[in-house]
């Protein structure tokens, strides 16, 4: 099997990120209209999701958290089944039992989503142990935030993965917010990747709003993991442009900080760059928007028309 993934075109990244952003905005609008529950959106963090996921092989596995839509959609999740899950419908990836918070899609290799902050970190070494004991050289990408990096399990997970030489790409999406607390209130250092040295593993911080930079860093990290059999800590510096959960008016967010990150919006920035350089025509850019809108029209209609789970589902899947 190949040891590296093909480099996706910037236009592919743009379309994936546009899909994720539109999905999240439509989901938030659907909540505001009383049609679906509130979600933890990944608005602003799309580049981190598409860049890392593009660096993975199909047999690599992903563990994610409550801000999971970007990881799922980048991996090829059907937006209709994802929205159906958020709406608690029987056609969702988990039959409506997960809702927005714990979506797993084993068929996509997106597994064991935990929304106890740090829960994904606790599970990743065991998944990597299964892979390595089966003789595979696949890796586990574990997405978590700067909040999870302040949990004790962060230390336990990175230490064990290092000691046992487990193939985990720890991806810290540092979005500067830990629910309603700014990261600066919770740690004295600027970068989480600097902690890697304390575990005897490699780490790197990358601009999380630049999909191509994230891809390059993630591809290199995955290559190092397959080569050294050691875990790697990759930090993508990004920003949570919406609130912690819908609804959240972000009244507590510094307006200048928010404005400075909005000016660095990963989608608008890439789109402008591609159009200005002539790599993407205005017609092609418009076609991306149209395709995304068509897909999501279909997806949201599918979700809204999907049946509720039958009430016997209350007690199924408790035991194997």
């Amino acid at each position: 099997m190949s040891t590296s993934s093909a480099v996706p075109s910037p236009a592919t990244f743009l379309e994936q990120m546009t899909l994720i952003r539109s999905f999240e905005e439509r989901s938030a609008a659907s909540f505001a209209a009383g049609r679906s529950p509130g979600t933890c959106t990944c608005v602003g963090q799309e580049a981190s999701a598409v860049g890392v996921v593009a660096a993975l092989r199909p047999d690599d596995l992903i563990l994610t958290n409550h801000r999971s839509a970007g990881h799922l959609l980048a991996r090829g999740a059907d937006p209709g089944r994802l929205m159906a899950e958020i709406m608690g419908r029987a056609t969702g990836y988990c039959g409506g039992k997960s809702g927005t918070l714990h979506v797993s899609a084993k068929e996509l290799g997106v597994i064991l989503t935990s929304t106890i902050v740090g829960g994904e970190l606790s599970l990743a070494p065991g998944v990597a142990l299964s892979l390595s004991m089966s003789g595979s050289d696949a890796v586990v990408a574990c997405f978590f935030g700067d909040g999870a990096a302040c949990e004790g399990i962060f230390h336990e997970a990175l230490n064990l993965a290092a000691v046992w030489k487990l193939p985990v790409l720890f991806v810290c999406e540092n979005n500067e917010w830990q629910a309603f607390v700014h990261r600066r209130e919770t740690m004295l250092t600027e970068n989480i990747a600097s902690r890697a040295a304390g575990y005897g593993i490699e780490g790197r911080t990358v601009d999380g709003n630049d999909a191509e930079a994230v891809f390059a860093a993630a591809a290199e990290a995955v290559g190092r993991i397959r080569e050294t059999k050691m875990p790697f800590l990759l930090e993508t510096k990004t920003y949570r442009l919406r609130g912690h959960f819908e609804p959240d008016d972000q009244g507590y967010v510094d307006k200048d900080e928010l404005a400075s990150w909005k000016a660095r919006d990963p989608i608008a920035t890439l789109r402008a760059r591609l159009v200005e350089s002539g790599a993407l025509s205005a017609a092609e850019a418009a076609a991306i928007d149209r395709r995304v809108a068509d897909r999501l029209d279909t997806a949201f209609a599918f979700a809204a028309e999907s049946p509720w789970p039958s009430l016997d589902q209350l007690t199924t899947h408790v035991y194997a």
């Binding site: 829960g119 599970l123 065991g126």
Partner: protein, 326 residues
């Protein structure tokens, strides 16, 4: 029949299951140090020491279980499970359900507990009811050397997370263990002594106290039936109800603290489903709602002893007689 300790019985169960199934592995705090025979036979990849970090031990077990392995983890002492509650309760217990059945968690978490070593409440705390109350988990607590082995084998083969509690007072006392591949199904109680006048329901070390009490009572003409639950979730409701319907009297005995202990569930179930058979109020004998002390005398006083069980059984029988002659 040969006799071995429950500690060695667990070692045999691990070895036999690891031999039978290449996906079974064991890791935990010192397991590779203590069970070097397993390391010698199965290699360092399948028998591993871990850092003293109970959260990641349990989480790693859950992650491995969900993706094709069958881990058995040693978390040493039951109070340390507080560090593993997140991974056991929120992940292993819930993610099968929340994922709509996409994953299962065939794993066993072992921990020692109970009076016997004078280690005090941070190493001795019978927390089994916490896990009985949590969905998606199974809970086992054996009383005999043979059951330590056969319940461990059943737990390893089960496709769900199993909490396997080891009563330290029993762990190094040899008992009869048959050779060969014996399995005790989870959820199946054992009638340790048949009787007709009063049912004594218990598990782990207090089963032996119940048997001793039954011996004393027999000399007085009172026939006590001793039911060893063995599994606390699922627990053998059928066996307990059948016994109480026969005897009409129930004494539930355990070392764990009384309030919301396993005994409360058993008493409530019997009151709901066998009320018409009861000829005396149900009695619960349990540890106090207090941390366990280290001092030998206090530690022993914490645990319901045979004398107290006999007193409770006698009064249950006497109470019926008093009502009958009123």
């Amino acid at each position: 029949m040969r006799t071995i300790t429950p500690y060695d019985a667990i070692g045999e169960a691990l070895a036999e299951e690891m031999r039978r199934d290449a996906t079974v592995l064991a890791f935990g705090e010192g397991i590779a140090t203590k069970r070097h025979d397993l390391v010698a036979e199965f290699g360092a990849a399948r028998v591993r020491n871990t850092p003293l970090a109970e959260g990641i031990i349990a989480g790693t077990a859950a992650g491995a279980a969900a993706t094709g392995l069958r881990p058995v983890v040693d978390l040493l002492f039951a109070p340390f499970l507080t560090f593993s509650m997140e991974e056991i309760v929120n992940s292993a217990g819930k993610l099968r359900f929340l994922s709509g059945g996409q994953f299962s968690f065939p794993m066993v978490a072992m921990a020692m507990t109970g009076a016997g070593w004078g280690v005090g409440a941070q190493h001795n705390h019978n927390v089994e009811a916490w896990f009985v109350h949590s969905p998606g988990l199974k809970v086992v607590m054996p009383s005999t050397a043979a059951d330590f082995k056969s319940l461990m084998k059943a737990s390893i083969r089960d496709d769900n997370p199993v909490l396997f509690f080891l009563d330290v007072a029993l762990l190094h006392t040899p008992g009869e263990v048959p050779e060969g591949d014996h399995i005790v199904p989870l959820g199946k109680a054992a009638i340790r002594r048949p009787g007709t006048d009063v049912t004594l329901v218990s598990y782990a070390k207090t089963v032996h106290s119940c048997s001793a009490a039954a011996e004393t009572l027999a000399a007085e003409g009172i026939s006590a039936e001793v039911v060893d639950l063995r599994s606390l979730k699922p627990w053998d409701e059928e066996a307990v109800l059948a016994s109480v319907r026969k005897t009409g009297r129930l004494v539930v005995v355990h070392e764990a603290s009384r309030t919301c202990g396993v005994g409360a569930e058993i008493a409530a179930t019997v009151a709901e489903k066998a009320f018409d058979s009861l000829r005396a109020p149900i009695v619960r004998l349990a540890g106090p709602d207090a941390p366990a002390a280290a001092s030998w005398v206090l530690e022993q006083a914490f645990v319901p002893q045979a004398d107290a069980i006999a007193v409770a059984a006698r009064s249950a029988v006497a109470r019926t007689l008093a009502l009958a002659t009123a």
